[in-house]
Symmetry: C2
Subunit: 99 residues, 2 copies
Amino acid sequence: MTLFRRLLGDALRAERMKRGLTLREVSAEARVSLGYISEIERGQKEASSELLASLCNALDVALSDLLRSVSDAALAEERALLGVPAITPAPSAVVVSAA
Amino acid sequence: MTLFRRLLGDALRAERMKRGLTLREVSAEARVSLGYISEIERGQKEASSELLASLCNALDVALSDLLRSVSDAALAEERALLGVPAITPAPSAVVVSAA
């Protein structure tokens, strides 16, 4: 089963890595415990909507961009489950920064 | 603040309406209480990832498609907050007017 929290965790970790941030830095910025963020990144805990907004803010990523990444990952998994070859992502997956 | 559960609730309701399904029908199909689904649609409760998968299944919508709708709605809201004029929406986008 494709679980949202696992794909979300992967996307959050990817955004953090892209910015070269440590869990500790994101934890301080988002005011969320390091252990909790780590569990979210590993898809072990659900993030509340408020926490998700806070993490997006700390990572300086728009919620829309993060969710698009998750949608793309879900699509890739759905296609893999159906045995459909991967396709090139839609051009609309362009990053829009809300900063 | 743009809250994921509110946008998700809107998207779930839109999918249910599109299919002409009642809350009762989705409740029976997804094996989730009617009251709980109603609260999720109104953005009052967070849906666990397992419940979200179950709702997608009951609504016969791919998680990727649902999340893309939510991403589009989040983008529209982010742009409205920034005072950016609405752009031509992607085919799956929900139109949000900048109030």
